[in-house]
């Protein structure tokens, strides 16, 4: 009855009978997370660290094998740092920032993602998704040992969901039969094919791209540089495009665009995969085929991510093509956004309507990701002869003329979303740098032997730059930590450039997800209180 849909890389949470299964009535939980993929695990970590009890249900007993996400962004590492597992990821991952793009046998473009100093984390690391998930899982174990109320139940498949005004009722299937549960909040992290969406009859709209990609992870000892190499119409003819990228453990991700009509069964035969690989790498190169699969890609999203007491995050809410690495990375931004909001709501410190701002902000983020990912996919797999003609015109010009290079689009890599003009934003009264404007994720900068983002932590923060702010205050139930920095300190040069620009001084109000809520040139209790109320969805309350 509970057939596995995939085999496991790591078995981490074997089925164990829970006391809830023997209760006469459905046990009630504040938060249930459906799905223990990267996004479900991160959600559990975020909530559990706040002391919010969270139960994760997954229909498997661990992490699926195989090749999915490999590129994890700086923002994802910053979020993971806050959860306590960023450095484990960074230590295992392969750091890279340079990408090269070739057309046929000629290089047409080169980019460097982080030409700037003074960030704790690199622009990107490559790390196999199973490792990424395992680090999240291990951090959950660490937090549980410290008392965090997190529980994961393997081989617990959610089969029905009944949303009510005050709770959500679930039926869960296990190897020992089914049982009932209730949740105040259900978070759907059940992936792109989300059964939950289906159960609730919700739409998932967008575009399917008519091309398929053969993905092969191979183990080889090679001295290619640690860069992202992408070919349009490669001279070795292994596909209409090709990608090569290094992962830890001497594994390389190779990716060939093989056309919509490709015969999946034929193409997946090892001999046929090797033909393509040999043409690319040369006949004398030895390698082991570790994993292969054929993917087709879609760009789709739900209209809104909150439906009463059911909230969607990660691939269940939005799906993008992998060019740009915006899948798991944007899911992590969902968690980052949802975690503190749901925490405040569950603890009764903010109104439920705050959760609508999760949908507003992350739909905005999803739109941006879908736009970028669609543009890249259109460039990589032109959908008409005319569009192909312009694509190649760009590539042909790029070799000779610099102006054409910015058009070359082999993926616009994930950067944090700036929530411009959205409901929670307070006033932006500093004519400071645009990159730290209200709505943006705080740029990192060195401070006193460490980094700013580490210093900010997980609460609301008032950052006084050249101006005193109260050390710690409680405003309407919400803790606001104060950090005052002496901007004349020469070691803060990068911080000044990133937060003050030409402004002589400033006060920033920063949300627990490290996005800027408001900024001013002077400190004022009332300004802070009203911006805080707004950032917590309590605006009416404040006016009343």
């Amino acid at each position: 009855m509970l057939q596995d849909r995939y085999s496991l890389a790591f078995k981490l949470y074997p089925y164990a009978r829970s006391a809830d299964q023997d209760k006469p009535k459905a046990a009630r939980h504040p938060v249930i997370v459906m799905g223990a993929g990267p996004i479900g695990l991160a959600t559990a970590l975020d909530l559990g660290r706040q002391g919010v009890p969270v139960l994760v249900l997954d229909d498997h007993e661990g992490i699926g094998k195989g090749s999915r996400a490999i590129c994890f962004s700086k923002r994802t590492l910053e979020i993971a740092d806050r959860y306590g597992c960023g450095s484990a990821m960074l230590d295992k991952g392969v750091v890279w920032s340079v990408g090269k793009v070739f057309h046929d046998d000629r290089q047409v473009f080169e980019f460097n993602l982080l030409p700037e100093d003074g960030h704790r984390n690199p622009a990107f690391i490559n790390l196999q998704q199973p490792y990424f998930e395992r680090f999240l899982f291990e951090q959950i174990q660490t937090e549980i040992a410290k008392g965090a109320p997190i529980e994961i139940r393997g081989r617990n498949r959610v089969e029905t969901v009944t949303p009510n005004a005050d709770r959500v009722a679930l039926t869960v299937q296990t190897p020992e039969g089914s049982y009932q549960l209730e949740a105040d909040w259900l978070i759907g992290c059940d992936g792109a094919n989300s059964p939950l969406r289906g159960m609730m009859g919700l739409d998932f709209e967008g575009r399917v791209f008519k091309d398929s990609f053969l993905i092969a992870d191979i183990r080889m000892l090679a001295d290619y540089p640690t860069e992202r190499w992408f070919w349009f119409e490669p001279h070795f003819k292994s596909g209409a495009s090709a990608l090569m990228h290094r992962q830890p453990d001497d594994i390389w991700r190779i990716d060939f665009q093989i056309g919509w009509d490709a015969d999946r069964k034929e193409e997946l035969k090892e001999d046929n995969i090797r033909k393509r690989l040999d043409a690319m790498l040369g006949d004398d190169v030895e390698y082991e085929l570790v994993w292969s699969s054929i993917y087709t890609f879609q760009c789709k999203r739900m209209e809104k991510f909150r439906h009463g007491r059911v909230i969607f995050a990660g691939d269940s809410a939005h799906q993008v093509s992998p060019f740009g690495a915006r899948g798991a990375n944007s899911g992590m931004q969902d968690v980052d956004n949802l975690g503190w909001k749901l925490g405040l709501v569950v603890q009764g410190k903010a109104p439920e309507s705050l959760l609508d701002s999760y949908s507003e902000e992350r739909v905005y983020g999803a739109e941006e990701n879908i736009r970028n990912s669609t543009r890249s996919t259109d460039f990589i797999t032109p959908k008409s002869k005319n569009s192909y003609c312009f694509r190649n015109a760009v590539l042909d010009l790029s070799e000779r003329f610099e102006f054409a290079r910015p058009f070359v689009n082999s993926g616009r890599l994930s950067v944090p979303c700036t929530y411009d003009g959205l409901s929670l934003n307070g006033s932006d009264a500093v004519t400071g740098p645009a990159r730290s404007r209200v709505g943006s994720a705080c740029p990192d900068a060195p401070v006193a032997g460490g980094y700013l983002l580490d210093m900010l932590g997980t609460e609301f923060v008032l950052l006084g730059l050249g101006m005193d702010v109260p050390k710690r205050q409680e405003i309407d139930g919400i803790i606001v930590k104060g950090i005052t920095l002496d901007i004349n300190d020469p070691s803060l040069e990068l911080l000044r450039a990133r937060y003050l620009g030409t402004a002589p001084q400033a006060v920033y109000l920063i949300r627990p997800d490290q996005h800027v809520a408001a900024r001013w040139t002077t400190y004022d209790d009332n300004d802070v209180a009203s911006a805080l109320a707004r950032a917590c969805g309590k605006e009416e309350l404040c006016l009343a």
Partner: protein
Amino acid sequence: MPRLITTPNIGRADAFYERLIDVQDSLSEEESQSYNARLILILANHIGELGVLEQALEAAQLKRP
């Protein structure tokens, strides 16, 4: 916003037109399509202004107001 120039702006219109056709003459249909695509991109970059380019994209559709 700068406006797209839709009045005569090339001093020697006949000479330019002759050059344009001369180039096309030596090209196959497919080559001409590629050539034109490159030419559009080169000219667009020279103009630079997105607003003007949008007006040009619109104007070329010959829509009746």
